[in-house]
């Protein structure tokens, strides 16, 4: 319904305008009419409540929610401040060193040793 005071659209279930607070005269407010159900429990107080900071003001003039209403966003940690890249690099380095060590150790020729003592292999050709 339209408020006779500010001409704003407001719910006809209310007894006063939710924008300007002016009392509303509706068909449902006459004696003997249906009982108006109270607002559900836990809901925010309507703008007609005098304690509301934007009492009587339209929606466009309602104050923005304060910082205390929302939880502060947690700052993201830079990747170089986390331990995981360094742990991964360490694992990779150990794997590479281990592989090189193992492959280096396989370059022996025990079958060419003579007399179980240091041996010189004299590789020659007849041509």
């Amino acid at each position: 319904m339209q408020c006779p005071n500010c001409n704003a659209e407001t719910s006809e279930m209310l007894t006063s305008c939710e924008w300007c607070g002016a009392p509303l005269v509706s068909v449902a407010s006459s004696p003997g009419d249906a009982f108006t159900a109270p607002p559900p429990a836990g809901s925010m107080p309507p703008p007609s409540d005098a304690s509301y900071p934007a009492h009587g003001a339209p929606v466009s003039q309602w104050p923005p929610p304060s910082a205390g209403d929302r939880p502060a966003p947690k700052p993201k940690k830079a990747w170089y401040l986390t331990p995981w890249p360094y742990a991964a690099a360490l694992v990779i380095a150990v794997a590479v060193v281990g592989f090189l060590f193992m492959s280096g150790g396989a370059k022996g020729y025990p079958e060419l040793v003579v007399g179980n003592q240091p041996t010189l292999l004299n590789v020659y050709t007849d041509t």
């Binding site: 022996g108 020729y109 003592q117 041996t119 010189l120 292999l121 004299n122 590789v123 020659y124 050709t125």
Partner: protein, 71 residues
Amino acid sequence: MAPIVDGLARQYQGKVSVKNVNADTDPAAEKLGVKVVPTYIFLDSTGEVIERQDGGNPQALQQGFEKAAGR
């Protein structure tokens, strides 16, 4: 180089053995990856390569014998 190798072999007899490997017939030459002859490869008692010399250099050969004898 053959006389030099023989002389050093006699000098270090009991400390360093000498094994002749014919690059044309011995498959060990291919296993050793020999590309140049002569090549001298010093092994310790476990078969690990101590030193490898490509080409003939009497001084380097003597140093190789000394190094191998010390192992």
